[in-house]
């Protein structure tokens, strides 16, 4: 890797790319961002020594964008030196160019060559995206062309291979998408109606000697979005064609299954009240750019975006039992063919001046989510199954009620109370044993002290009947945060598994640290003990083993 050439280029860059003011000549515009997340792991007398290599680990990203008239380009260099932070996808190693692209963009036409991020509809059929906390960057390297003949029409087509570490995965990806604004085409005045149609194909030839095997797997999607006044609704259907079954990463040459997904959403919104309900049914819908990656635990090589549709909670103790969506078909270690369920959200503002609303109003957020396996008859030995009922709810995987009450008492005081009641079927969600019933109660108060100073305190308790060793029974938690100004904050937080029957596992997971922000620059530093478990961002989770140490994050943009 000719790193030094790159450094030289970067150093010189500003000298030939002045911003527009100089000489009134347009040299284009360069911008970029740096993000660095580092950890220094230490031995912990309570939870054990750090036994991996490289106690210091650092993930670093440098992105540069260049825009000149309608042309654009970007490059992203990533450095995982001397190693990526714990339990990242092992292919993120060393320093190299992660993504790059050049392209042209006008109001009607857009073309990108290189790595691009794309999403068709809700992503149920295709989405490429990046999340640095989760270690996901599944951008597609290839060509993406979009054409918008009118405001109501957009057509896209793409071809490429999906990023996999610093390489690309084996399957070639083809995609076509059409977005059709029916309401503008038919000049509907008050009704919004949009139609979307997509095709995604993944072509990966394998050495499989079976007449049923086809290297190309096709998926089709149709969707309709509707709005009228206070009401909105959408429906999406995806059909994934027959593909060879893969179990724990091994191809089973004589077993072929197709997949499908339904997504239905309905909502009502007026001032002071919002209701949203979602139903989703997925059967064998995990869709990978490379078939033998189907057992990977790092969320890599996914072509489609199928996150858990549950509420993302805000506190340490409400994030212990987090549902993960179950799109896959597996016969081993346990039979699952998909999931069915939904969630309802209600947001309500109790008006100012009423008994419950008080002087400033009271804001309520309620969520109910339930997810189950699909009902079906299966034969584990033959690896066959019949799925008979469309609305058949099988084994319950997860159910949750939650309510947040947010109240401002005076210009200085405000508070939040949050209650979460969860049923969590660890046998199906985590492929281990046990079912859990848990209730978390959280209270937090914030007091403004003037001149940008404020203090926030939070206490929480989790009642749990879980018997899994490292998180059994009850927990208690607390957080204290002090903001010196909008720039500087410090915090200390602790969650404590005090109810664990095993006294050695009655562990305090504490963290203290601070953050400093100025303009586009943000620095965060902390020291603490991290609970082993799932770190979830937006319904996608990454497993992190228990660890103790320092962490430092720096980000800036220019």
């Amino acid at each position: 890797m000719n790193r030094y050439k790159l450094i030289a280029t970067l150093l010189c860059a500003p000298f030939f790319m002045f911003s527009q003011e100089d000489d009134k000549k347009d040299y284009g515009k360069l911008s970029g961002g740096i993000e660095s997340n580092s950890q220094y792991y230490v031995d912990d007398s309570k939870t054990g020594d750090f036994e991996e290599d490289d106690p210091f680990r650092s993930n670093n990203y440098l992105r540069l964008n260049y825009d000149y008239k309608n042309w654009f380009a970007h490059i992203q260099v990533e450095s995982y030196e001397p190693n990526a932070i714990l339990n990242f996808y092992p292919k993120y190693k060393g320093t190299d160019v992660g993504t790059f692209a050049v392209g042209y963009k006008s109001s009607k036409f857009e073309a990108t060559l290189g790595h691009f991020y794309e999403q068709f509809g809700s992503g149920l059929i295709l989405r490429s995206w990046e999340d640095r906390q989760l270690g996901i960057n599944n951008s597609i390297r290839g060509a993406n062309v979009k054409y918008r003949p009118t405001n109501a029409l957009e057509f896209s087509s793409l071809y490429g291979r999906q990023r996999d570490g610093f390489e690309v995965s084996d399957g070639s990806i083809y995609g076509f998408n059409a977005e059709i604004g029916l309401s503008s085409l038919f000049k509907l005045e008050t009704t919004g109606l949009d139609l979307g149609l997509s095709y995604v194909g993944r072509d990966e030839d394998l050495d499989v000697d079976n007449p049923n095997f086809e290297s190309l797997t096709n998926a089709f999607s149709a969707r309709l979005d509707f709005t009228e006044g206070n009401i909105y609704s959408s429906i999406e259907y995806v059909k994934k064609g027959e593909d060879v079954y893969s179990e724990l990463g091994n191809i089973i040459e004589d077993r072929y299954f197709d997949g499908s997904a339904w997504l239905f959403n309905f909502g009502y919104a007026k001032s002071g009240l919002g209701i949203d309900a979602t139903f989703r049914r997925m059967e064998n819908m995990a869709f990978f750019s490379e078939r033998d990656e189907s057992a990977n635990v790092f969320n890599q090589n996914y072509l489609n975006f199928i996150p858990a549709l549950t509420k993302q909670h805000d506190y340490g103790l409400t994030n212990i039992f987090v549902y993960q969506s179950q799109p896959r078909l597996t016969f081993n270690p346990i039979f699952k063919s998909g999931e069915i369920g939904g969630q309802v959200d209600i947001f309500y503002n109790i008006k100012k001046g009423t008994t419950l609303g008080g002087k400033y109003g009271t804001k309520l957020a309620f969520n109910y989510a339930t997810w189950s396996g699909l009902k079906g008859n299966f034969n584990i030995n033959d690896r066959t199954y019949e799925d008979t009922e469309f609305f058949g709810f099988g084994e319950k995987y997860f159910e949750e009620f939650s309510l947040d009450i947010k109240k401002k008492w005076s210009p200085k005081w405000s508070s939040i109370v949050s209650i979460v009641n969860t049923f969590y079927n660890a046998r199906f969600v985590e492929d281990r044993i046990g079912e859990v019933n848990a209730t978390a109660i959280v209270g937090e108060v914030t007091r403004k002290l003037g001149n940008g100073k404020s203090v926030r305190a939070e206490v929480s308790h989790l009642f749990s009947d879980d018997e899994t060793s490292e998180r059994a029974k009850n927990w208690a938690g607390g957080t204290l945060e002090y903001n010196f100004s909008s720039r500087l904050s410090v915090f200390a937080t602790d969650i404590w598994n005090y109810g664990n029957p095993d006294e050695d596992r009655q562990i305090h997971y504490y963290t203290f640290g601070g953050s400093f922000t100025k303009g586009a620059t943000r620095v965060m530093a902390s020291y603490g003990r991290q609970r082993g478990g799932l770190v979830c961002v937006g319904g996608i989770c990454r497993f992190v083993p228990e660890n103790t140490g320092f962490s430092l994050s720096v980000s800036t943009s220019f």
Partner: protein
């Protein structure tokens, strides 16, 4: 490690020469489903606040709640306009409309469902709050602590003149 430090230092030096000061040219979807040009929102000397937020981001919602409480006064006194850009992805984007209605927020909501704007602004974390006029970014702040809306309002008054 040394390479890394060299790289970071090199950049710090080289970047002091230029600064990102404009909103990217791109189309962005409104909550009603229309597409607008991002450059148009701050044209003709209109001062706008652009705030990147998400339904799952507590400080973001606190910031927008706090601004909503005083938004009428701000508009009356400075004619500022707030565009709250949700970076919710397709998992949570359906929550945006009921949440905005439920909270009674009165400002404009835009949708950045696959983080295209967030990426172009090189914003690893939200909330991110910008003050923009004639497409030029005049002020940038990330994070929210209670009371920092007062600081923002000082800036608004400064730039609305």
């Amino acid at each position: 490690m040394r390479t890394l430090i060299t790289l970071l230092l090199t950049l710090t030096i080289s970047t002091t020469v230029f600064g990102q000061d404009v909103l990217p040219k791109m189309q962005i979807e409104t909550l009603k489903g229309a597409n607008i040009n991002l450059e148009d929102i701050s044209s003709n000397d209109q001062l706008v606040i652009v705030s990147l937020w998400a339904t799952w981001c507590v400080p973001c919602k606190n910031e927008l709640d706090a601004i909503n409480d005083v938004y009428e006064d701000w508009v009356e006194e400075t004619n500022v306009k707030l565009y709250a850009v949700s970076v919710d992805d397709s998992r949570t984007v359906k929550r945006v409309k009921p949440l905005v209605s439920g909270k009674g927020w009165e400002f404009d909501i835009l949708l950045d469902t696959n983080s295209d704007l967030k990426r172009k602004l090189n914003a690893p974390t939200i909330p991110l709050t910008l003050l923009v006029k004639n497409n030029k970014i005049l002020y940038r702040h990330s994070g929210y602590t209670p009371g920092s809306e007062d600081e923002l309002y000082e800036k608004i008054k400064e730039f609305s003149k």
